[in-house]
């Protein structure tokens, strides 16, 4: 049997001489790496900003890969499958071969093996070419230093293997087609039509999970594999199942010369065919159907940290209150925490010391794996575990696309036609819902119902808001028109509860509730009742506490005066039934007060690059503007040129421009200094933590303006890039009095 197959293979190798099958593979393999090499040689590496733990060679392999898997590889398969079949169709070789001491199985599959070998060679050649071109590029151009430069042979081999597996479905289909139909034109037409279908469907985000060309596309878009630890993606399993089916159908069709004799003429053949079809359909159905992940027996958040800075603690916080739910110490760049309390299914906030943060979705009985990468100024947080699909969704409330109804509303179009608005709003609502449902990860994992329910409600909130804006406008322009709610609109309005605690982690819902309270208590508001009072009057419970907390904090931040803040706090924090909330608000109040205008600016010691020490007291009699920044902070560096410009403008005025570097890495500061403005006083606090605590530096860039008498003027001054900067500063310095 094996010997027989080898003979057939040897013969096929003679026959494909001068057919150009392998040459075509070589050419198509080289196009994309060459093109990419030329493009980045001319345009430069545009991905420099995104470099975090990225391997240079793998990146070079990955970037043009979709060109290969999305177009050139399918093209190669369509053409070569047709070509290798045509060699025998044209020359009546099928009969010639069948009149030789060689089995039909060997004939059919030796040709298929040649095609497979060609695909393997093409993929490998692509990989080798991308490595070679990457190497050439590294010789010509200086590669960004944060690239990882080792040869990722294992990762590339893994990607190549999966791409090969994913291509088998198309290959076996095209081959069967080319063998069955003796004219070359149909196999090509059908092949190209299928390829184009995939290319056209892709931008429309139609989910073609079952479509053969999609398998290859998915494998090419995810060369590192899926998000869960499985060796093959469902798309690749599907490719194997499809190719088995196509090979079976193709071979039987070929062996018995026609559909009827292959599958219908004899009972055993019919039974075999039905059996194969049933098994393939069932397994394919299994892989196509999206799954949800099983809950875990415990509630765990764990993760790893890969950073050039030392992160000591990871905090998990409530999104609304910023109340710390868990403070997790980092040991050997890893952390793990088991939650014993119940967790509402909602988004939480994870904070990596003071560097960066991210939101992630979880509930009780989830095992969440967080991977933090922080190099230089770029941080990425990836969330895996039992909530893959939920955390992979970028938009929590449906599409963020253009909304026609919002456009019409903005321009006061058709305001008299309430039925039209109801219909439009409901249509867009349904469209967003369908988008929500169609989000499925490459591992064919879909979000669990708790997430979907929550998102559904938030989407409803978004559209109820639109409806409310319509009502407001209608009230102004067409007050006489009565509104009869359609049943659908009624459903939409009733789909969201005004007391849903789980939605409170979303600002959209909080604003929704506040607006609702204001709108439904118009009379009370007119009589002088405040928003805070309305909230405090809600039924006792966590819902009220959270709402109240959120509103108190908003108002504390908005108040400019100490007395006002203290009054709000004293009045309403007593209503709160949550000591932790009260404490947070008290801290907020105190730290805001501490930095209120007129409070004494607490002094600290800083030094310049030569070690000369400075204190705020040294600048008494002058305004001092402090720019707090760090080397890893991109937005800070964006402000720098503006800051220099302003310094030049106000050089002669009674103000000192200082830059306060709070980066833990002193060397980075010294390096940065070599190319920074020397006229700005470049300083660094002696104790960064003390400085940060004194001035509540929780985010940078942060500009602090100190008055000549040594008191705080503005603890969060506008950024130099802002248009208001000059006006505000002119006023302080008494410059625009004319």
């Amino acid at each position: 049997m094996l010997e027989n197959f080898k003979i057939a293979l040897r013969t096929e190798r003679i026959k494909i001489k001068r057919s150009g099958i392998f040459t075509l593979g070589w050419i198509l393999a080289l196009i994309m790496p060459l093109l990419y090499f030329v493009i980045i040689s001319v345009e430069g590496d545009t991905y420099i900003d995104k470099v975090t733990e990225t391997n240079f060679f793998f990146n070079f392999f990955e970037m043009p890969l979709q060109g290969l898997t999305g177009f050139f590889l399918p093209l190669l398969m369509i053409i070569t499958a047709s070509k290798i079949a045509q060699i025998d169709h044209k020359n009546k070789g099928w009969q010639l071969m069948e009149m030789q001491p060689i089995s039909k199985f060997s004939i059919y599959f030796s040709k298929f093996l040649i095609l497979c070998i060609n695909i393997v060679i093409t993929i490998l050649l692509y990989a080798i070419a991308s490595i070679v071109f990457a190497y050439l590029y590294s010789l010509i151009v200086d590669v960004h230093p944060s690239y990882e430069m080792s040869l990722p042979l294992e990762a590339i081999s893994y990607a190549c293997l999966r791409i090969f597996i994913a291509s088998l479905a198309i290959l076996s289909f095209q081959y069967a087609l080319s063998v069955i139909i003796s004219g070359f034109i149909w196999a090509l037409v059908i092949g190209f039509a299928m390829l184009l279908t995939q290319l056209f469907a892709e931008p429309f985000q139609l989910n073609l999970r079952w479509y053969p060309h999609n398998f290859l596309f998915v494998a090419g878009s995810n060369p590192k594999g899926g998000l869960i630890d499985s060796f093959l993606l469902p798309a690749e399993w599907l490719s194997l199942i499809y190719s088995f089916l196509f090979l079976f159908l193709g071979f039987y069709w070929y062996r018995f010369k026609g559909f009827y004799s292959a599958f219908a003429k004899a009972v055993p053949r019919t039974i075999t065919a039905i059996l194969v079809l049933v098994i393939c359909s069932a397994t394919a159905y299994y892989f196509i159907t999206p799954k949800t992940m099983e809950p875990f027996q415990k509630t765990v958040v764990k993760g790893t940290i890969n950073a050039d800075k030392e992160i000591k603690n990871v905090y998990v916080r409530d999104l609304v209150t910023s109340d710390t739910i868990a403070s997790i110490p980092v040991k050997d760049n890893a952390f793990r925490h088991v939650f014993t309390q119940e967790l509402t299914p909602q988004f939480y906030n994870v904070v990596f010391d003071k560097y960066n943060q991210a939101n992630f979705f979880m509930s009780s009985n989830d095992s969440i794996q967080i991977k933090e990468t922080l190099f230089g100024k770029k941080a990425t947080v990836s969330v895996l575990g039992t909530r893959i699909s939920e955390n992979a969704q970028e938009v929590f409330y449906g599409g963020s696309d253009f909304s026609y109804v919002s456009y019409q509303l903005e321009n006061n179009m058709k305001l008299a036609d309430s039925e039209y608005y109801m219909e439009q709003i409901y249509d867009e609502y349904e469209e967003d819902l369908s988008k929500l449902k169609s989000k499925i990860s490459v591992d064919h994992i879909k979000a669990r119902p708790d997430f979907l329910d929550r998102s559904k409600k938030l989407i409803a909130v978004k559209f109820i808001n639109k409806w409310n804006s319509y009502l407001k406008k209608k009230e102004i322009y067409n007050p006489d028109i009565a509104i009869a709610l359609t049943p659908e609109m009624n459903d939409l309005l009733n789909s969201v509860s005004y007391k849903d605690e789980t939605l409170l982690s979303d600002p959209l819902y909080i604003d929704f509730i506040k607006n609702y309270l204001v709108n439904s208590n118009k009379v009370a508001i007119e009589n002088g009742t405040t928003k805070l009072e309305l909230i405090a009057d809600l039924d006792e419970g966590t819902f009220r506490d959270k709402m109240l907390f959120s509103e108190i904090r908003t108002q504390l931040n908005e108040s400019k005066k100490i007395a006002q803040r203290d009054s709000i706090y004293n009045h309403f924090s007593a209503v709160l039934n949550n000591d932790s909330y009260s404490k947070i608000l008290d801290d907020t109040r105190k730290s805001l007060n501490k930095l209120s205008r007129g409070q004494e600016a607490l002094d600290f010691i800083s030094y310049d690059k030569d070690g000369k020490e400075y204190a705020l007291a040294d600048f008494k009699g002058k305004y001092v503007l402090i720019d707090s920044w760090a080397s890893w902070c991109g937005p800070c560096k964006q402000q720098e040129p503006f800051y220099v410009k302003k310094m030049t403008k106000y050089k002669k005025e009674n103000i000192v421009f200082t830059s306060m570097n709070i980066d833990v890495k002193k060397n980075d500061w010294l390096e940065d200094l070599t190319e920074m403005n020397k006229e700005i006083l470049q300083l660094r606090p002696k104790n960064i933590n003390v400085f940060s605590d004194l001035y509540n530096i929780d985010s940078i860039p942060r500009f602090i303006l100190i008055a000549p008498d040594g008191t705080i003027d503005d603890a969060d001054f506008v950024r130099p890039s802002s248009n208001a900067f000059d006006d505000l500063l002119d006023a302080k310095l008494g410059l625009n009095l004319e």
């Binding site: 040897r10 013969t11 026959k15 070789g93 009969q95 018995f256």
Partner: protein, 301 residues
């Protein structure tokens, strides 16, 4: 009686239920014979050939080769058979040598046999030429050369002289006779023209509309068609015919200057000439018609 190399019993075949291509065919091809399988286009020759080579399956009846059922022996049996169906099956983008190499590879034969068969078919100087540059006759000979590799005991040739010019036909015919005589090959050859093969065949089978009309040796065939036709060229054939018809009933007018007369046997020809001269019929030409051909035509009409 010599052993049959091919033995077909009650063979029937159809692509669809109501349209049988072959009906109850019985054939015996003796060892060492050149068996002519005759029939007009569409009679079922190629179908039979394809069944004999197992290219087509699902037939009724039985096909035995070398004394055993064909089914049990495929595809190894092709080590003993050289087959050429619907000629010429050649890879036109390959050279003659490479075409033969395909076969040696498939049959696991040493490549040194290639020059031998090339010489046998007279293509030894053209082996490095691509097959697409060959003339039709050369292609045909190359295709036959391919069947000869591996010293087959039986050749199955489907219309091997189809489309060849007369000299090509002669070449192939001589080659086949040589193979049969020198190597003792049994040859099963199909054709739609009796004249093409009658000169070399020892046995004949005639098929028409899926049914076997005749099977036997050439001699037996000759006996079947013993009547002898003469075509006579003269002047004013109609008048002469009247004279002839006094003695010979079976005579008919062909054209203005030609008529045909049917004799009981060849031996009557001098007698008829004598008669014509006596009756003063001007004899410009007397041509003996091929009786076999006519009989074949009448059979398959």
């Amino acid at each position: 009686m010599t052993a049959s190399i091919i033995e077909i019993k009650n063979l029937g075949f159809s692509y669809s239920k109501n349209n049988p291509i072959l009906k109850n065919i019985n054939l015996n091809v003796p060892k060492g014979s050149i068996y002519g399988f005759l029939g007009p286009n569409g009679a079922g020759k190629s179908t039979t050939m394809q069944l004999l080579t197992d290219i087509l399956q699902d037939h009724e009846g039985q096909i035995n080769m070398f004394g055993k059922a064909l089914k049990e022996q495929t595809p190894q049996i092709f080590n003993r058979i050289g087959a050429l169906v619907e000629s010429p099956a050649l890879y036109l983008h390959l050279t003659g040598f490479e075409n033969l190499k395909c076969i040696t590879s498939l049959k696991s034969i040493d490549e040194s046999r290639i020059p031998e068969v090339l010489k046998l078919v007279g293509l030894e100087t053209k082996s490095d030429l691509k097959a697409k540059k060959y003339s039709l006759g050369m292609k045909q000979r190359l295709a036959i050369a391919m069947t000869l590799l591996g010293d087959p005991e039986l050749l199955l040739l489907d219309e091997p002289v189809n489309g060849l010019d007369p000299s090509g036909i002669t070449e192939v015919r001589e080659l086949l006779v040589k193979l049969n005589k020198e190597l003792g090959l049994t040859i099963f050859i199909s054709s739609h023209l009796l004249s093409e093969i009658e000169k070399m065949c020892t046995h004949v089978g005639i098929i028409h509309q899926g049914e076997l009309k005749f099977e036997g040796t050439m001699d037996e065939l000759a006996q079947r068609s013993s009547k002898h036709h003469l075509t006579i060229q003269t002047i004013d054939a109609a008048r002469q015919l009247e004279l002839v018809q006094e003695a010979y009933e079976n005579a008919r007018l062909i054209s203005e200057n030609e008529f045909q007369v049917t004799l009981k046997s060849k031996e009557e020809t001098p007698q008829f000439a004598q008669f014509s001269i006596e009756k003063q019929i001007p004899l410009y030409q007397m041509k003996a018609e091929d009786g076999l051909e006519n009989w074949f035509l009448s059979l398959t009409k």
